[in-house]
């Protein structure tokens, strides 16, 4: 039993590393160049536009850009992780070996998470350097809490992308994942809005949406970070557990769907 679990772990890690290498080969990390150019432009140009308060605007632009770039990678790479293997028929070569479908899904997920982690860390370093350049070094400490939350949000989004791609086409999966991303950020506000409408059905509907879809508003700490605030340990701890639990649910459902899928 122990031998099997060791072997499963090795398989998952191998798939994850291969997924990371594939992402690098596919030039996914080229987005970092655009990001760096954006941050350099902000650091140089924002001084006049913000009347000398460029540090907080660099944090706002930087952190939102990290989220948007990361979300695009999570959505567009995430939905093609499985479908590309099927399209290229490489999935047959993989499953000819002693690899379980659940291991394959988990390995792909972790590989993309690793890609996102590298991406997010490099971008975070870019924002930090820009802050040093504009003499806003005091904000460097506060941005990393927010960057961790962004990464956790992206891991959930990746799991959502994998779930949709396990049963629908890449284009539809991308669209559905994008909608989940948008609604996931608004679910709390929509629930409050529904409470104000007075309709029982609306209240019930948005209550279901609130708990069923990932509540990504938990991971929004960008405005606070721009004001020098740092997330507390209970907040970080809760966010990590929420991300692990929610992603596990999605990956389990994905693996179950994927197990029943016929590749012929």
């Amino acid at each position: 039993m122990k031998v099997r679990s060791n072997s499963a772990l090795k398989t998952i890690l191998t798939i994850a590393l291969n997924t990371f290498r594939e992402a690098v080969r596919d030039r996914v990390l080229y987005n970092l160049v655009i990001f760096v150019l954006l941050i350099i432009a902000c650091a140089i140009l924002l001084g006049d536009l913000t009347d000398g308060n460029e540090a907080r605007t660099i944090v706002n632009i930087g952190l939102n850009a990290i989220l948007i770039f990361g979300a695009f990678i999570a959505i567009f790479v995430g939905v093609s992780l499985v479908s590309k293997e099927i399209e290229k028929r490489t999935v047959f070569a993989i499953f000819a070996k002693p690899v379980r479908r659940s291991e394959f899904v988990l390995g792909k997920y972790l590989g993309l998470c690793l890609t996102l982690l590298v991406n997010v860390v490099v971008m975070g370093v870019g924002v930090s350097l820009a802050l040093v350049y504009v003499k806003g070094g005091s904000l460097i400490y506060s941005i990393w809490g927010s960057i961790l939350l962004i990464f956790l949000e992206l891991t959930i989004l990746t799991a959502v992308a994998i779930l949709f791609s396990s049963f629908s086409s890449p284009a539809l999966s991308a669209l559905l994942t994008f909608f989940t991303f948008v609604i996931g950020h608004m679910s709390a506000s929509l629930r409050d809005l529904a409470a104000g409408l007075g309709s029982k059905f609306a209240v019930f509907f948005f209550e279901v949406i609130y708990y069923l879809l990932p509540n990504l508003a938990h991971y929004s700490f960008r405005t606070e970070a721009a004001n020098g605030m740092v997330p507390t340990s209970p907040m970080i701890g809760g966010a990590v557990i929420y991300a692990i639990v929610y992603s596990s649910i999605l990956l389990l459902v994905s693996a179950l769907i994927f197990r029943r899928r016929n590749f012929k």
Binding site: N53, M186, S189, A217, R222, T223
Partner: protein, 309 residues
């Protein structure tokens, strides 16, 4: 040249000509763009900060920054576009910057801790609409109850409005907050005893110049201090002109005649008169003061950016 090379050369020529055409067309379209009528340029903001909150994917801070930058650009464009070359920083109503408050309001709704917006609003809005300035600063205090600087700004607005009792109350409350400088205690007292004095004004603007992080506020404070210096200069010049008239039985024909008298005059803060190369007494912006012959009084030169005395 073979066929393939020729294709490359022709493609290259086409690309260059294409970009030249795009450059020309772009400029042509820019020149022929139908400009909006003036009434449309200040169209009310479609979106309200409080309604956007919760629906912008957590990017409230970024949008708050955008509205705040818009407020700076908006006021700047109003000043640049003003047909009247000289304007009074103390009264910006002729520029009609009616969207300034909505921009700042949206900005602070989306990020209630955006101190730069509160500071900018508290120093500029009193020159447009005092009640809006008070609204914005009180909102800032409600959202940032530990910020003594906002109480200082509220005191400043009431002081500008000549409501010295309310100004003193603002300083009284602010001075009890942790980290409040002793300056707040001094201001609370001086508001009650000599609220309208020039000395109080000088302390107020000096404090803003030294401690406020906002560049616009510093510029404003620096200008106000120059204005106060000019008022001190004018008082001293008028006193010297009076002495000269009493001694000579006529008004001085120019500043050079008055220089021997001015050498003995002590200005507040230990300053000396500024004299240019042509022996004219100049104001803090470097423009010579003029003498009104009919009244034999010194006045701000017509080319100065300082408001007329």
């Amino acid at each position: 040249m073979n066929k393939s090379s020729l294709q490359y050369v022709l493609s290259g020529i086409f690309l260059v000509l294409g970009f030249i055409a795009v450059f020309g067309l772009s400029n042509y379209l820019e020149r022929n763009r139908v400009s909006l009528p003036e009434a449309y340029q200040d169209e009310d903001l479609t979106l309200q900060g409080k309604r956007l909150k919760g629906y912008v994917l957590g990017a409230e801070g970024l949008i708050a920054d955008w509205y705040w930058m818009q407020s700076l650009q908006y006021l700047g464009s109003k000043i640049i576009g003003s047909k009247n070359e000289s304007f009074d920083l103390g009264d910006l109503r002729p520029l009609n910057p009616r969207l300034l408050y909505p921009y700042l309001d949206n900005s602070t709704e989306l990020d209630p801790k955006l101190m730069a917006a509160y500071t900018f609003g508290a120093t500029i809005l009193p020159a447009i609409d005092t009640s809006k300035a008070i609204d914005l600063t009180e909102k800032g205090i409600a959202n940032n109850p530990d910020s003594w600087n906002l109480y200082h700004l509220l005191g400043y607005i009431h002081w500008r409005n000549k409501d010295y009792e309310k100004a003193a109350q603002a300083y009284d409350t602010g001075m009890k907050l942790p980290g409040a400088p002793s300056f707040m205690r001094i201001m609370a007292a001086s508001m009650r005893t000599q609220g309208g004095s020039r000395e109080t004004a000088r302390v107020m603007y000096k404090q803003m110049l030294e401690s406020d992080p906002d560049a616009q506020t510093k510029t404003n404070a620096e200008f106000r201090l120059k204005e106060l210096d000019a008022l001190d200069d004018l008082d001293a010049l008028n006193a010297s002109l009076k002495t000269f008239t009493e001694r000579q039985g006529r008004c001085a024909s120019g500043w050079s005649e008055l220089l021997p008298l001015l050498q003995n005059v002590k200005l507040p803060e230990g300053r000396d008169f500024l004299i240019d190369s042509s022996d004219s007494v100049v104001d803090p912006t470097g423009i010579p003061y003029s003498i009104d012959r009919s009244t034999c009084k010194a006045q701000i030169g017509p080319e100065s950016t300082l408001p007329p005395s």
